[in-house]
Symmetry: C2
Subunit: 274 residues, 2 copies
Amino acid sequence: MQSHKLPIGVFDSGIGGLTVLKALSETLPHESFFYLGDTARLPYGIKGADTIIRYAHQAAHALINKGIKMLVIACNTASAYALADLQISFPDIPIIGVIEPGAKAACHTTKSKEVIVLATEATINNAAYTDAIHKINPEIRVLSKACSMFVPLAEEGWLTGHIAEAITREYIEPLLIAQQGIRPDCIVLGCTHFPALLGTIQSVVGTDITLVDSAETTAHEVKRILVAKQLLNDATTPGRYQFFATDVPERFAKTASYFLGHALSASQIEIVDL
Amino acid sequence: MQSHKLPIGVFDSGIGGLTVLKALSETLPHESFFYLGDTARLPYGIKGADTIIRYAHQAAHALINKGIKMLVIACNTASAYALADLQISFPDIPIIGVIEPGAKAACHTTKSKEVIVLATEATINNAAYTDAIHKINPEIRVLSKACSMFVPLAEEGWLTGHIAEAITREYIEPLLIAQQGIRPDCIVLGCTHFPALLGTIQSVVGTDITLVDSAETTAHEVKRILVAKQLLNDATTPGRYQFFATDVPERFAKTASYFLGHALSASQIEIVDL
């Protein structure tokens, strides 16, 4: 198959990366996608660096073996730890993560130069967002918070209500106190699960704070790279989608709708062993 | 080494099984233990049957290869799915899980013959507790509830406070309503993580409901088997403990204290690759 006809590979520890796939499908409606969720081993966000890098390699390898023209790491934790490694291991295809696009979106959004980053424990420990934001603008003050309960909360489907609100307050309220008169005006949702809780987070922080996630900026970045490398598909028909998971597809299919915006049946998901 | 001098192998998806190890060490102070936590792949409780069975086999295999005289599956989910399989695969050593001991404890405790089982999604789906209780007493009514948020709650260390209480109420209050005048008087904590939340659960349900977990009954069952098979250690010195994990030891060491009752340093934990 000609390179530009190949699908784009997208992988995540589970289903959160479907928010990125959704943005990709809107920006690039004629592209085809392979989406791999490492559902047997999720979540990555509480694991150690070596384990995350090893799992990311296995996932990338599986997708590259199926034939893809580009790889998107649609998981903040895997992007934080494994992007540079994967780019070295697989130099022949463009690989991008979601951290740099998220950092870029935050830098464009903030006026007060005070940004909150909410992410998994592993992503926060690695300081990838702080580094990426400071590479663009070293004067932005970054407040980081590991929100380990957000992933299970989203997976349980408790997206609104008093429990989601109490957990959100517990994590975020201490960060909202103005320091020397300056208050954060932008929150980065630094985990692909977190946009599922967007309504609750916005209601807790108020409408004068903008929530940004990496999905849309990543999609535009993917399009820019495809154009630059002459890999954009010239088809005018809608792209095809193929889903792969490492655990039983039922749970994947059930929770996918929160993230993808439409239902998915278990029969559309193929099990792979990494 | 003579068989009775060998350690007892204990495995869990992570650290919750340390509550079982604690009970074992109290009941069998002269025995040595190998504890393996599959921390890279936890939690098991939201995975599919095939994945759980495969992971349990790998963990059992690793411990048996190190030389043990008995194997305790200190994880309710793995016990529910993999016990029978492991007993067939490794016929030469006694293997027990935590479900039957927990069911036995519940049957001895309940007077109203109305028992609530709280467990992971996978354990509830498999109905292992209901089956085990009905094997002992088919007249007991079992109310089951998957409490998927309890594991991350315990791992986050939010064992008390308004969020732990709100989540506990959300899961349990609907089960406490009396049916035809009969009210549950016993709650089985059917996941080794849940005893960490015992104080909060007890405060929500009141003191007229008894909480039982498998740890102590399992320890007595292990002692009974060792005596019957002439495998009890005749040493009078305290047993030795060796810990193995599949992910970085820092998080294991940090959270272990909630379950084990005393601190553990990262240097006491050896990384293994299953």
